[in-house]
Symmetry: C2
Subunit: 420 residues, 2 copies
């Protein structure tokens, strides 16, 4: 891994393998997946031994307990990884399906056909289950995979990877379909990001700074989201009990994730009735509130700090919430389109016209009527797992699963047609 040549060799091997993966039979892929799930369970003690090394290192480095929690593999978590692989085995295989059949007057039959993207390069940070999820999703979608995990979980990642690749090679998956960069220096990543044409897509998973750096350096298309500044808008026609339950869930069910609510927008008509009891619940749950002037007029000023302009743009990922009272649906939509990150936003309303206007005009990849933003997730969307979440405008948006890991090509059947 020391020089550019060996990095390029990995990428070229993955490319060569990808040429063969597109014609792999679905039954073959599913059989490999099921064997992989079994092997994970059978190798539990081997994987947990590797994980213990990472945990020891992390504790020695005095990393935060939330961090160590994400890193730790338990019986249940390894079972969870295996379940997830079995879920992916059950999904429909998109490769080879025909999106559209166009018959032309000259007799040409044009099939818009789903094909794998090619070579997928995933850069990730601390959670070892990402290793298994990526392998399952890329195998099912017929893509070659190059994994590059963070240093914190390196032993766990290598152990999981080795177990799964052994199954793959025993069961006839083309050589070099699954690859892992087993060192954690940045050099290899930087070289990879220049291999336009060999690697087809880069998926960075982790903090905003990692993703920004990858996007800046990469000559290869990147599927990504920088951050999730997600909103719940409580409309003047909202069912206020439902609004309270959704807002509380969106903020607190798991505050540290990208689809958690960061800003609550409330219509001025209902704010005086809605905000006092809602704020009480949040404060009891330990949430710090930061409000606009109107919010602070309605609530006890002492319980709500003034929100600054920067608050509307901040992904707290923490027990902090900004609150703004708006005077119209249009103002809510305008606020979200200005400060939001196109991740996940919700409206709570019983008014159909308001709902449709919001759902149409808010420019987010996942947009909810009367439900919590916390559902933006590959599993919750029925995709088995996800390789990432995208807020881009092109190709994949929202949770990225097996289907989004494919693209299409036009296959044209003729019987001698020439152009006049």
């Amino acid at each position: 891994m020391k020089d550019a040549k060996s990095v390029r060799k990995i990428a070229e091997g993955a490319k060569a393998a990808s040429r063969l993966l597109g014609s792999l039979k679905t039954s073959h892929k599913n059989a490999i997946l099921r064997e992989m799930a079994k092997a994970l369970i059978e190798s539990k003690s081997y994987i947990m031994k590797a994980n213990k090394k990472d945990l020891k290192k992390a504790r020695d480095r005095k990393l935060k307990s939330a961090f160590i929690d994400r890193l730790e593999l338990t019986d249940k978590r390894i079972q969870g990884m295996a379940d997830s692989i079995n879920e992916v085995a059950k999904l429909e295989d998109p490769v080879g399906t025909i999106d559209k059949l166009i018959k032309r007057p000259n007799g040409l039959r044009i099939r818009k056909t789903r094909v794998p993207i090619g070579v997928v390069f995933v850069i990730y940070e601390s959670r070892p289950n990402v290793t298994a999820d990526c392998i399952a999703l890329c195998l099912k979608s017929g893509n070659s995979l190059i994994l590059r995990g963070g240093s914190v979980a390196i032993n766990s990642n290598i152990a999981i990877f080795d177990v799964l690749r052994k199954v793959a090679s025993k069961m006839g998956l083309p050589k070099n379909s699954l690859n892992m960069i087993k060192t954690t220096d940045r050099k290899a990543v930087n070289i990879m990001l220049g291999l336009e044409g060999t690697i087809d897509v880069v998926i960075p998973r982790g903090g905003e700074s990692l993703i920004k750096e990858v996007s800046r350096k990469s000559r290869i298309p990147v599927i990504k989201h920088y951050k999730g500044v997600c909103h719940v808008y409580v409309d003047e026609y909202a069912d206020l009990n439902m609004a309270e339950s959704i807002s509380f869930n969106a903020k607190l069910q798991r505050p540290g994730v990208c689809n958690a609510m960061e800003t609550l927008l409330v219509h001025s008509e209902v704010a005086p009735r809605f905000l006092p009891s809602m704020a009480k619940k949040f404060i009891e749950a330990g949430v710090e509130l930061r409000g606009c002037p109107l919010t602070r007029r309605i609530l006890k000023r002492a319980t709500v700090k003034p929100a600054r302009e920067s608050d509307w743009r901040t992904e707290y990922l923490d027990l902090i919430l900004s609150i703004k009272v708006v005077n119209s649906l249009e103002e809510a939509i305008g606020h979200i389109n200005k400060y939001g990150t196109s991740h996940s936003d919700a409206i709570v309303t019983e008014n159909r016209e308001h709902a449709m206007k919001f759902l149409t005009e808010v420019d987010s990849s996942s947009i909810y009527l009367n439900a919590s933003t916390r559902f933006t997730d590959g599993y919750e969307f029925g995709k088995g797992a996800e390789i990432g979440i995208s807020t881009d405008k092109l190709h994949a948006r929202g949770p990225v699963g097996v289907e989004e890991l494919t693209t299409y090509k036009y296959v044209i059947f003729g019987n001698g047609q020439i152009r006049k």
Copy 2:
């Protein structure tokens, strides 16, 4: 247009308009399109007067006659532009259509819904009809458009744009939906290419150097193809009459375009029977041949120059053809995947197994069985027109029409669901 501020203002105006375009009724869009087609015909003399200025300038600058031919607007060509707009009016409207409906056990209904991309920025060179095509395609797909044409056709472009925008504004298209940068200095383009988040996609149309420059500078996703090194492979099981007719058409029907054949691959089993008469036809048509050693052994050496390694990578766009004899289907596929540009490639064969292997394993965006590569074109694919052709792996591939100018978002309907 002199400073960054005014450029940014155009982009922001386009963005604001794009928020409204997604909910425009299909019938309204189609009515505007039909009026635009009419207005083009009615303003023929106005447009041709502007075109004469461009032609004079081009002749003064002693540009090539092929170039002047592309620039010139005639009665017939203006009629062609109007016809093309009417074709786009007849196409189905993709906006709002539901790609997929997912019902979840918790009652959530997830609609994967087609939406416009947002703001499209097209940079193009000499053909004035591109102005009308882009306006029609973006209007139908609900996108805001910013056009920036080359200096050669600037008067024609402005005339066409002004005629069509007048119709748009008279018929209630949101203000700032259609925009043109009417100066031709590079500064405005460079500023635009940095407006990530405001402009959603850039489509450069023109020579390879323009496209490379745009791709290098842009922070916004680019839909593009650099060049088309297209192949026809004559298999050992080919109908040789069909192979001759397709090869001749692919090279000569219009040699200067991206989907014309640049390299002919012939299986060694049929090369001695196929190549002599084929070569004769090409030479009679004025085509210079460059062959591999085997080709030169089969044909008279004097009629075929030796092909160099660089020939296999060259898009001649001219009366030059490289020829290679291969010993197997696999060698043909390997050659195309190595030297091709994922644009358009064809196999001529009567063997179904060979056909399917080629169609699956060749990594091109448009791939033909027994037909000429010259059909890769928005109109020929039934898309009315095209805003460009893409050889990228993500989002749009092949001819880019109304449908490819949309993306999707997930619209999720709940009745109070929260995540457990």
